[in-house]
């Protein structure tokens, strides 16, 4: 087939991009070459709309061993140990085929982590669905949860935390973000940079099939009514093979055979071979007849663009082929020497002894397009003026029922009970807490991880929202007693070709950057997912932040359940009564306008560090951050988990009870302390100038809000635990 402009457009390339390809090559590419360009230059692989802005994020720090640019980020957790972690989106495929889309998302991110030599020790996920009333939501949710569980459970990696939200902006584009943490010795980290000439290039894992061809291109476009036709672009997962691949790779990595290794993820053999050669400033030559194929008569085009799962490409030291082959034979995996490194700086492909493609690698990587897209700034919305009398008409108990049973607040146990969260025998904080926590096997250390997003705040004001979500991640780590170290981010947005969506992206990234910089909480890995858009409707901007922290002595970990009768409850951080964009405003007042709560980074850092100091000094029995739904929601969850009540003190604040209890001011925590420690705690808080309110005292079975209002723990449980399981069954 003769390539022309129309064929290039059908591959998702723009006219001027096609012209640039012809100029760079000084000729018209053949179809295989065009396929390779389209795979490397799509948004998903090239970051052409986002690169310019991502550069501004802080990515280094004392604990950072590897920042963005590798398969995953790496941080130092002392004693020669390191944590490899990353989050990645699998949004588009999950909407088309929820089970396989979600499953391969989980498989892909685990591969990114063990490619670097790390054994995966924890999975997390952030999943977002359309309105619970939308006809597709239930099936999508069920499919995604089964897919995540189906893959992660089989791999034997615990799923320790996650986040689920419902919002009508996801009706046509759900989000599935999967995150994995792996453990590796600092001196045994593997990278994707090839080195040396005439080194054998090895293909291992599953055979290549016709699934997932153009998957990355599909994920770089909006949806329309023909979406069902895109099913063949979704990959099919085989977690069993991946488990074998994991064990085989780690076995090979124990020796010194590997120079470089790269998993075949988006854009399969194309991106993996090109990335390794590009990083090593080398060329690469592949004989496509040697690639193990699942189906007969696959063309070079199909082989290069297949996104079949569970495959790896390795550059080996000369003479190590037999050692490697023996290991992969033991694990019943395909193993083939398919090429070698060269000094040409070209990617050269051969098929039936003919050269079928020859492209200078720099044209695919360094010369890939980069756009400074037009974007529009979002003004800070005006505050709503709500009269004090307005609040008086609400009965707290009724409001609390509505808030606790809201789909975005209610217990997600129906979901996480389907994930194996205890395999590997080191999970010391299960899903449902502020962060999931796993011990570093055989040591006193533990690693905490959380994944968060706040699309409502980001939509109302992207700059504030971007800062907020980083702070929320920071707070969730602090709340379990972990010292926050670094984050990974998954940036889910609409079309970058629309000024509003691009503006949301630019300002969220700016907010994330500012917060990370201030909190010394650098970004070490991540991914961008644009075009979460169906026709003209895009999702609310949804950056998902995956935070990781370290607990040096796991016995000092804190959980959120209230522990003991007569203990005191304090609210750390100042409550100003910010109601706009709160769950209360949106769902009870039905008021969707107004600014999100303000972020004060000084208070955020100061409050967080002080709470951490209290935890480390053994002065706190339970802790929980205050997030959506306000103080009363946080306190209710602590009562439910502890199966114990609380009596609120008489209010001394200058606002209505509703504002105090349901407002969503930031930088706040609820902590439980023993009465005998009150003086000590107060003096530390005062010394650090941290604002706090004495809030109440723990009692037996009731939440006593005031003289007139009492809620039993069983009532709280009924409000909070039933919505999701009733909805799904």
């Amino acid at each position: 087939m003769e390539v022309n402009e129309q064929i290039a457009i059908d591959h998702g390339l723009k006219k001027d991009e096609y012209k640039k390809i012809c100029d760079l090559l000084k000729r018209v590419p053949n179809l295989t070459e065009l396929g390779i360009f389209s795979a490397m230059w799509n948004e998903h692989c090239s970051y052409k709309s986002s690169r310019l802005h991502l550069k501004k994020l802080p990515t280094s720090g004392k604990k950072v061993i590897q920042g963005p640019g590798e398969n995953a980020g790496v941080i130092d957790i002392e004693d020669g140990d390191a944590i490899v972690f990353k989050i990645e989106s699998h949004n588009h495929p999950s909407f088309i085929e929820p089970y396989q889309g979600a499953a391969t998302g989980v498989g892909g991110i685990m591969r990114d982590v063990f490619t670097m030599g790390a054994r995966p020790i924890a999975n997390l996920n952030s999943i977002h669905f359309g309105s619970s009333q939308h006809k597709k939501t239930k099936n999508l949710l069920r499919g995604v949860v089964h897919g995540i569980g189906g893959y992660g459970n089989c791999m034997g990696v615990p799923t320790i935390a996650g986040q689920t939200s419902f919002d009508s902006s996801y009706n046509g584009n759900i989000l599935v973000n999967a995150m994995t943490l792996g453990l590796v010795k600092k001196n045994k980290i593997f990278y994707s940079k090839a080195a040396g000439l005439n080194k054998p290039v090895i293909y291992v894992g599953s055979k290549t099939g016709r699934d997932g061809i153009h998957g990355a291109s599909m994920a770089s476009a909006s949806f329309d009514e023909k979406i069902e036709e895109k099913k063949p672009t979704v990959q099919v997962g085989d977690p069993f093979t991946e488990k074998l691949l994991l064990e085989a790779c780690l076995e090979l990595m124990a020796g010194d055979s590997i120079i470089a290794i790269q998993d075949m993820g988006a854009a399969g053999l194309t991106s993996s071979s090109i990335e390794m050669a590009s990083k090593g400033n080398l060329g690469i030559e592949l004989n496509l007849n040697k690639v193990p194929c699942r189906e007969s008569k696959m063309t070079p085009y199909e082989i290069m663009l297949s996104e079949s799962q569970e495959r790896m490409l390795i550059v080996l030291e000369n003479g190590k082929e037999n050692i490697a082959k023996k290991i992969f034979d033991k694990w019943d995996l395909d193993f083939a020497i398919i090429g070698k490194t060269t000094n040409t700086r070209n990617i050269e492909l051969y098929y039936d002894e003919k050269q079928v493609a020859c492209i200078p690698i720099n044209t695919l990587v360094e010369n890939s397009p980069m756009y400074d897209r037009k974007w529009k700034k979002t003004k800070l919305p005006k505050k709503n003026l709500i009269k004090k009398e307005e609040f008086k008409k609400f009965k707290i108990k009724e409001v609390l029922n509505k808030i606790l049973s809201n789909p975005n607040v209610c217990s997600k146990e129906w979901i996480w009970q389907q994930y194996d969260h205890t395999v590997m025998g080191d999970t010391i904080q299960k899903p449902g807490g502020d962060s999931g926590v796993v011990r570093v096997h055989g040591t006193d250390k533990a690693v905490a991880a959380t994944v968060d997003s706040s699309a409502i705040y980001c939509w109302a004001h992207p700059l504030t929202g971007g800062k907020q979500v980083v702070c929320e991640s920071w707070r969730n780590l602090i709340s379990v007693g972990a010292t926050p170290i670094a984050i990974t981010n998954c940036l889910n947005f609409g079309s970058p070709e629309k000024e509003e969506n691009m503006g949301e992206f630019v300002e969220c990234v700016q907010g994330i950057g500012e917060a990370c910089e201030y909190l010394k909480f650098p970004v070490v890995s991540g991914n961008v997912s644009f075009y979460n858009q169906t026709k003209e409707i895009g999702i609310k901007p949804t950056p998902s932040i995956g935070g990781v922290g370290l607990i040096k002595d796991y016995k000092l970990m804190i959980t959120m359940d209230f522990k003991e009768i007569n203990n005191l409850v304090l609210i750390i951080g100042k409550t100003e009564g910010h109601i706009d964009q709160s769950l209360f405003a949106r769902n009870i007042l039905n008021e969707k306008n107004g600014p999100p709560p303000e972020i004060n980074l000084f208070n955020e850092k100061n409050n967080g560090e002080t709470v951490l100091q209290l935890i480390k000094s053994n002065l706190i029995r339970s802790a929980h951050d205050v997030s959506i739904g306000g103080i009363i929601t946080a306190v209710s969850k602590m009562c439910i988990k502890g199966n114990i009540g609380i009596e609120f003190d008489k209010p001394k604040y200058f606002m209505s009870e509703i504002e105090y209890l349901f407002s969503e001011d930031q930088g706040r925590y609820v902590i439980e302390i023993e009465p005998k420690n009150l003086k000590k705690v107060e003096s530390i808080l005062n010394k650090n100038s941290v604002h706090f309110d004495k809030f109440g005292k723990i009692t037996d079975k009731n939440m006593i809000i005031n003289e007139k209002t009492k809620v039993t723990i069983d009532e709280l449980k009924a409000y909070n635990t039933n919505w999701l399981s009733n909805y799904m069954n």
Binding site: N153, F240, Q418, H421, V423, M424, D426, I428
Partner: protein, 227 residues
Amino acid sequence: MKSAVITFPGSNCDRDMHVALNKFGFKNKMVWHNDNELPKSDLVVLPGGFSYGDYLRCGSMASKSKIMQSVINFAKSGGLVMGICNGFQILVESGLVPGILLRNKYLEFICKNVFVKINNKDNPYFKNLDKEVFELHIAHNEGNYFCTNDQLKEIVDNNQVAIYYCSDNGKTEEKFNPNGSLKNIAGIFNKEKNVLGMMPHPERMIDKSLSGEDGSLFFKNLLNNIK
């Protein structure tokens, strides 16, 4: 005391079991599914996981792997063989214990703590335990025990039920059955009681920082019984 844990392709609780056995005083060896011979052992464990991806039927392919012939011979000669979760599925597929394990009643994977009641203490696994009800952890998709009426009669007549799902105070009612198992059965023995298959994972309950410590009691007692 010597133990052996078999690793099949797709096993994923093999390490956890190894850690647990060693913690309570066994000298454990890991054995590869493709080996012919078992090392000299007082206890052989088939661990949890997804052997062969649970493709075809859970446990069916693993039951045909090379090492299983030695395991079967070891069991037939009276050796102690314990199958946990996927290991239990392998035991039923290899005919060492009766019945089969169907997909969970609500068609969903379940990972949570459950209570089980010990039915029969006249065996090396539960002898001398001074507790009836244990809190253990389950994590499975196919734990719904089923057998024919004739088999059930035989199992009951021979006192082969090892543990039942129950409430925290030992009530074995249907509402405490997490997966639809016949009669709330969570684990069974062979006729001779030297082979035990059960869905709950004692190896995940060996530390108070984990889901609980009832697994520790089980392992300590087991070691004492076979010393």
